[in-house]
């Protein structure tokens, strides 16, 4: 095998490898594409308790993250009890008050959309204003149990 063949073969193998990788999207691979803080996000469709709660929670997250100038993903993780403070990239805001205001605003929207009647909206507004935040997060994680309980009521 001649020197030229060896060099050309290796050069071709190297160029082809890098070309294949770039063609398969190496440039953007593993990049994180999160929405802008105040970008409109599609709310989950459908009727019933679960989609309604999701629309309220996600709407509240969107609203609060927009006011904090962060992403909803970062705000969500900052609420985690497992060292969520490492995700906080904002300073000086009364985060809890902001979250409660956003939840109330999201409940108002849900009432206007007809997702909630007046009584339900009032109860949820009271909860959003007074219940401890971690309790609300935990309750959301057990909404299935609440639905199960509701089914037991004749």
């Amino acid at each position: 095998m001649s020197a030229r063949v060896v060099m050309a073969g290796l050069a071709a193998a190297a160029v082809l490898l890098l070309a294949v990788e770039l063609a398969l999207g190496a440039r953007d691979y593993g990049e994180l594409h999160l929405g802008a803080p105040c970008a409109q996000t599609a709310l989950p469709p459908g009727g019933g308790l679960d989609p309604t709660v999701q629309r309220i929670v996600i709407g509240a997250l969107d609203h609060a993250s927009c006011r904090l100038g962060t992403t909803r993903e970062r705000l969500l993780l900052s609420l985690s009890p497992n060292g969520g403070s490492r995700f906080k990239d904002w300073n000086g805001a009364d985060e809890e008050r902001l979250l409660r205001d956003s939840l109330v605003s999201s409940i108002d929207d849900a009432e206007q959309r007809g997702d909630l009647n007046g009584v339900e909206a009032r109860i949820l507004r009271e909860l959003a204003q007074r219940a401890p935040v971690q309790l609300v997060v935990q309750a959301a994680g057990h909404i299935d149990d609440l639905l199960g309980l509701a089914n037991l009521i004749p």
Binding site: A14, L22, L24, E73, F87, I143
Partner: protein, 440 residues
Amino acid sequence: MASFGAAAVAAAVAIAFADSSIVVLALPQLLDDLNTSITPVSWVITGYNLVVAVVALALGSRLGRASARRVGLAGLFVFLAASLACALAGTLPVLIALRCVQGVGAALLLAASLPLLIALTGSERRGIAVWVTAGGVGAAVGPALGGVLTEVFDWRAIFLVQAPVAALAIPAVTAVRARPLPSRAGGRRTALLADLGLGLVFAGLAGALFLVVVLLIEVWGLSPLEAAAAVTALPVATIVGARLERPLSGTRAAVTGSLALAAGLLGLALLPATSIPLAVWALALCGAGLGLALPFFGVRSLDGPDLAGSAAHSVGARHAGLVAALVLVAPLLASGVSAGSERAALGGAAAVLDAPVGISDKVSIALALDREIEAGPKGAMPNVGAAFQGRSGKDVDQLRDRLVSTLEDTLTRSFRPSFALTALFALLAVLPALALRRRE
């Protein structure tokens, strides 16, 4: 008998070079068995390489006056005893200390092995060729050999199998009549430039020996045997590359080899997916580059009036290159994977928020996933399955698949700067090759 002796000494040389990276696929098992964490356990590798580099460089010019047979035998006995002791180690500090003793034995053996091989083969040219080939193949075969032994037996088997290899070389070295090597023409400057080239090639090789293995095991979740099968591309291509070196003139082989090694490492940096075929392709390029560049630098590093001393410096330069790369790459990888873990958590949160699953699943999975990411070692793939325990259904399964893919992609990308740095080391090896060309 002489050819059996040469083969036995060459095998001992290869295993001493392989020891630089042979433990790397066993690190996860060592973490579990010795109940430790990543940084302390990495000293099982770094300690060995550091001691070999220091002892070999210190031996250098002193070796010319000593008997190669005595130094070689001392090295083999220390290496043999330390290998057996490593296999019995019960705690991490003991294992690290024994690996350092093993490094002393390896440095003595490697430094004395060239005069021994010249005596056993009956020719300086053949002795040097066997020494350089054993060094190259040994260095490249380490992770694959260690991976197979770990999977089939246990991490202790890695050290146990080294003992008979060293033991077989003892009668061969005992019987050899290595005369002091005659003084040779040639400047030490050539050897120094070649040592620099070797150091840079081995610094680059750290990417293909260590980073790839961490990626395959910790992020892609391969078993040691699967990872060993993938990294076998490296020694196989090294052997092929060494055969390809013959038609090329010296400098062209070194420049082509260094560029191929750099391109392979760049290929690993630019991986666009969890793709074993692409990783194997890149590793094959690395191996071919190593096989081409190593003979050029290896032979020239032996130039100078004192062949045995030059051999010791050559061994020291290779291990110093590996240690320098480990020292420089470790903090870069640590900061990369730390940022990668944070991005992985954010990507996971985005996947969970957008998934068409119930609110209780979303909240529970998001919290459990964050807990798994926070609890696991930084840069390692979190236990996604644990976050989904007790949950099933088509949408939940789709969310799990999306999460695994998001986390793998993000963590794989976090290795990019570290691979790029090792590619830069390999690229810089072109400079001493060109400087050597001007001198020839």
